[in-house]
């Protein structure tokens, strides 16, 4: 009975979570007639026309390229800064570390709309609007507090003995970080990296106001601009959204193993 209840709730939660995703995947395979049919058609007749149109007519690959550049750059730079900051916060006995972390958390709670104006003016002042570095800078400031939090918690949990052993063995602080701490923190790094990447990949609002040249626009903005004056191409939008989700699903599946790979098991007495 208990087992059944458990299975039922898992199924219910799974269905609820997956339903929107399943719906637009199904929509992407429908013909125009099936999409607008009333009553709605649930199972599509499986067309690939929407995908073809999304890629050729709406230049989907171009948007994917932009998103890949922006999200990767954000992830790399954000993690590089965050891992150093988190290492310092977790390891050096800084008196203000706790307050700093709280401040970071508080900062990350500002609604985006509240900082949109200042961010836009700042980027405008720097002449960074409509540039990759402009949007990446904005994304770094959005993702950094979160990345620092995740990594600080992770570094704090790594046994300090191992790092000290590395210092004794002849490592400088930098070498200890590079050769011992970072490999051990890999699961934490991957977790933070995936979350930052997903955030940057999906972000819509800043991308919309910062990137007004179609040549630079990212996927969410690109897809949002699919509708024309007289058209609402639901099929192409669904196809583009499906394609846009695939890299995230793939990344998560690939790195899932690394994330759960309790690497630090056996380091100290187990």
């Amino acid at each position: 009975m208990k087992k059944f209840a458990f299975a039922a709730s898992v199924a219910a939660i799974g269905t609820l979570t997956l339903l929107p995703f399943v719906w637009f995947v199904l929509t992407s395979w429908k013909s125009a007639a099936e999409i607008t049919a009333i009553p709605p058609v649930i199972l599509p007749s499986v067309h690939w026309d929407n995908y073809r149109a999304a890629i050729t007519r709406y230049e989907l690959l171009h948007y994917i390229g932009n998103s890949a550049i922006v999200a990767s750059a954000t992830t790399l730079i954000s993690l590089a800064i965050a891992s150093l900051a988190a290492f310092a916060l977790a390891r050096f006995k800084l008196r203000w570390a706790r307050y700093y972390l709280m401040l970071l958390l508080a900062l990350s709670m500002f609604p985006q709309i509240a900082i949109a104006g200042p961010v836009w003016r700042l980027l405008n002042f720097l002449d960074w609007l409509n540039s990759y570095h402009g949007i990446v800078a904005a994304y770094i400031s959005l993702t950094l507090p979160f990345a620092v939090w995740v990594l600080t918690t992770f570094f704090q949990e790594l046994p300090y003995d191992i790092e000290e052993a590395a210092l004794i063995d002849g490592c400088s602080r930098w070498q200890a970080l590079r050769l011992v701490v970072l490999p051990l923190a890999a699961p934490g790094l991957f977790t933070a990296a995936i979350l930052v990447f997903i955030h940057a990949w999906n972000e819509f609002f800043f991308a919309l106001i910062i990137l007004t040249y179609p040549a630079l626009q990212t996927l969410p903005v690109g897809i949002a601009l699919f509708p024309g004056e007289y058209t609402m191409p639901w099929g192409e939008i669904a196809a583009a959204s499906t394609i846009a989700t695939l890299p995230l699903v793939a990344l998560t599946l690939i790195f899932q193993r690394r994330i759960v790979q309790g690497l630090s098991a056996g380091a100290v007495k187990g």
Partner: protein
């Protein structure tokens, strides 16, 4: 950074001079001074919280001192980072690198110091053979048992041929049998390597069996420095006397009258005139210490203590008898051949030569 050639076996002495460490208002270490000679096995013994691990970590460079100096040979090292001190440290938790194989763990420091690959190979396999872990070289630490991990941790220290070995309670995570075996092995290893070693433990059996020199620490101060025998037979104060020895030494507090007779607070009286002559001012408050094994049965007329056996721990070879003598509780270690029954009356005395006298905590000789 050290070069490969500088890593060659190089035995050094250690000099710690007036080392102190304060943390906020609390003084962890106060004016600690001692030397460890070339090739000596020196043990820092003390209860937990006495500052022994802090002392070791300061010598290693993992913590800074608040005052005083540390010299290895004639080089002052207390301001150098750990990697420039050429010391090896064996951690209580082993602190192996979990993402590296046993081979990589052992060779890590050599790699850092730029030792050639085939040289690393030779040295690692040599040490692995010595410690009998040569079958585990490709395993990760989490695949090893506690004892094997301990050996890898030891190997990682040995392979470097450091000037000084530092051990932080390395056997405390092992079970009793393994601990006893590793203790013997460590002793053998020291004989074989002839290296200078500083070893921290709270286990007196480890200290007594391994240490050529034992430093007893309590509350951040050195209580006594000596050989195992000196520490056991001539404890310099009440702390050392009570900390070393199992079961603990019996202590009897009292006042010595003008005739050399001790009037204990517990109401028991006995004559110490044979041993106190001239050494103790009459009317002095004394603490008399008697090791359990120094109490022996005697005729009632010669008895210092007459008591009844309240509890007997029979260890096979001998037994610990807990006695109540008036208001005094004593433990005597008696031969197991003639069994003692609960409630049995026993008359005991001591060879006066074997009585320890303490006045105001300090030993009187």
């Amino acid at each position: 950074m050290l070069r490969a050639t500088e890593l060659e076996e190089d035995i050094a002495s250690l000099t710690v001079n007036k080392l102190s460490k304060t943390f906020g208002a609390s003084r962890i270490l106060e004016e600690i001074s001692f030397t460890v000679a070339d090739g000596e096995f020196c043990v820092l013994l003390g209860p937990s919280g006495c500052g022994k691990t802090t002392l070791l970590r300061i010598v290693a460079g993992l913590e800074s001192a608040s005052g005083g100096t540390v010299d290895i040979d004639t080089t002052r090292v207390d301001l150098l980072p750990p990697q420039d001190r050429d010391v090896a440290f064996v951690f209580q938790n082993y602190a192996l690198y979990p993402h590296m194989t046993v081979f990589e763990n052992l060779g890590f420091s050599l790699r850092l110091h730029g030792v050639a690959k085939d040289e690393i190979q030779t040295r690692v396999s040599e040490v692995a053979r010595l410690l009998e872990i040569d079958n585990q070289l490709n395993h990760k630490p989490q695949q090893l048992s506690g004892g094997q991990r301990q050996r890898v941790a030891l190997g990682r220290a040995i392979v470097r041929r450091p000037k000084l070995f530092l051990f932080d309670e390395p056997l405390s995570n092992l079970d009793a049998t393994l601990r006893a075996n590793m203790r013997v092995e460590l002793g053998r290893l020291h004989t074989r390597l002839g290296s200078t070693m500083l070893y921290v433990t709270h286990d007196q059996a480890e200290a007594m069996t391994l240490g050529e020199k034992i430093i007893v620490l309590d509350k951040g101060r050195i209580q006594q420095i000596g050989t195992a025998s000196e520490i056991y037979h001539q404890p310099s104060n009440l702390f050392v006397a009570s900390f070393v020895g199992q079961p603990q030494m019996n202590f009897i507090e009292g006042r010595l009258d003008g005739h050399g007779k001790l009037h204990s607070k517990a109401g028991v009286e006995f004559d110490l005139s044979g041993i106190t002559g001239g050494r103790v001012a009459p009317d002095a408050q004394l603490t008399v210490g008697i090791r359990p094994e120094d109490l022996r049965r005697c005729a009632a007329a010669d008895a210092w203590f007459a008591g009844t056996a309240e509890f007997v721990e029979d260890l096979g070879s001998d037994c610990f008898v807990h006695l109540a003598c008036g208001g005094l509780n004593l433990v005597a270690r008696l031969p197991a051949q003639d069994p003692i029954k609960l409630g049995q009356r026993l008359d005991l005395n001591v060879d006066p030569e074997r009585v320890h006298l303490f006045h105001q905590e300090r030993r009187i000789d």
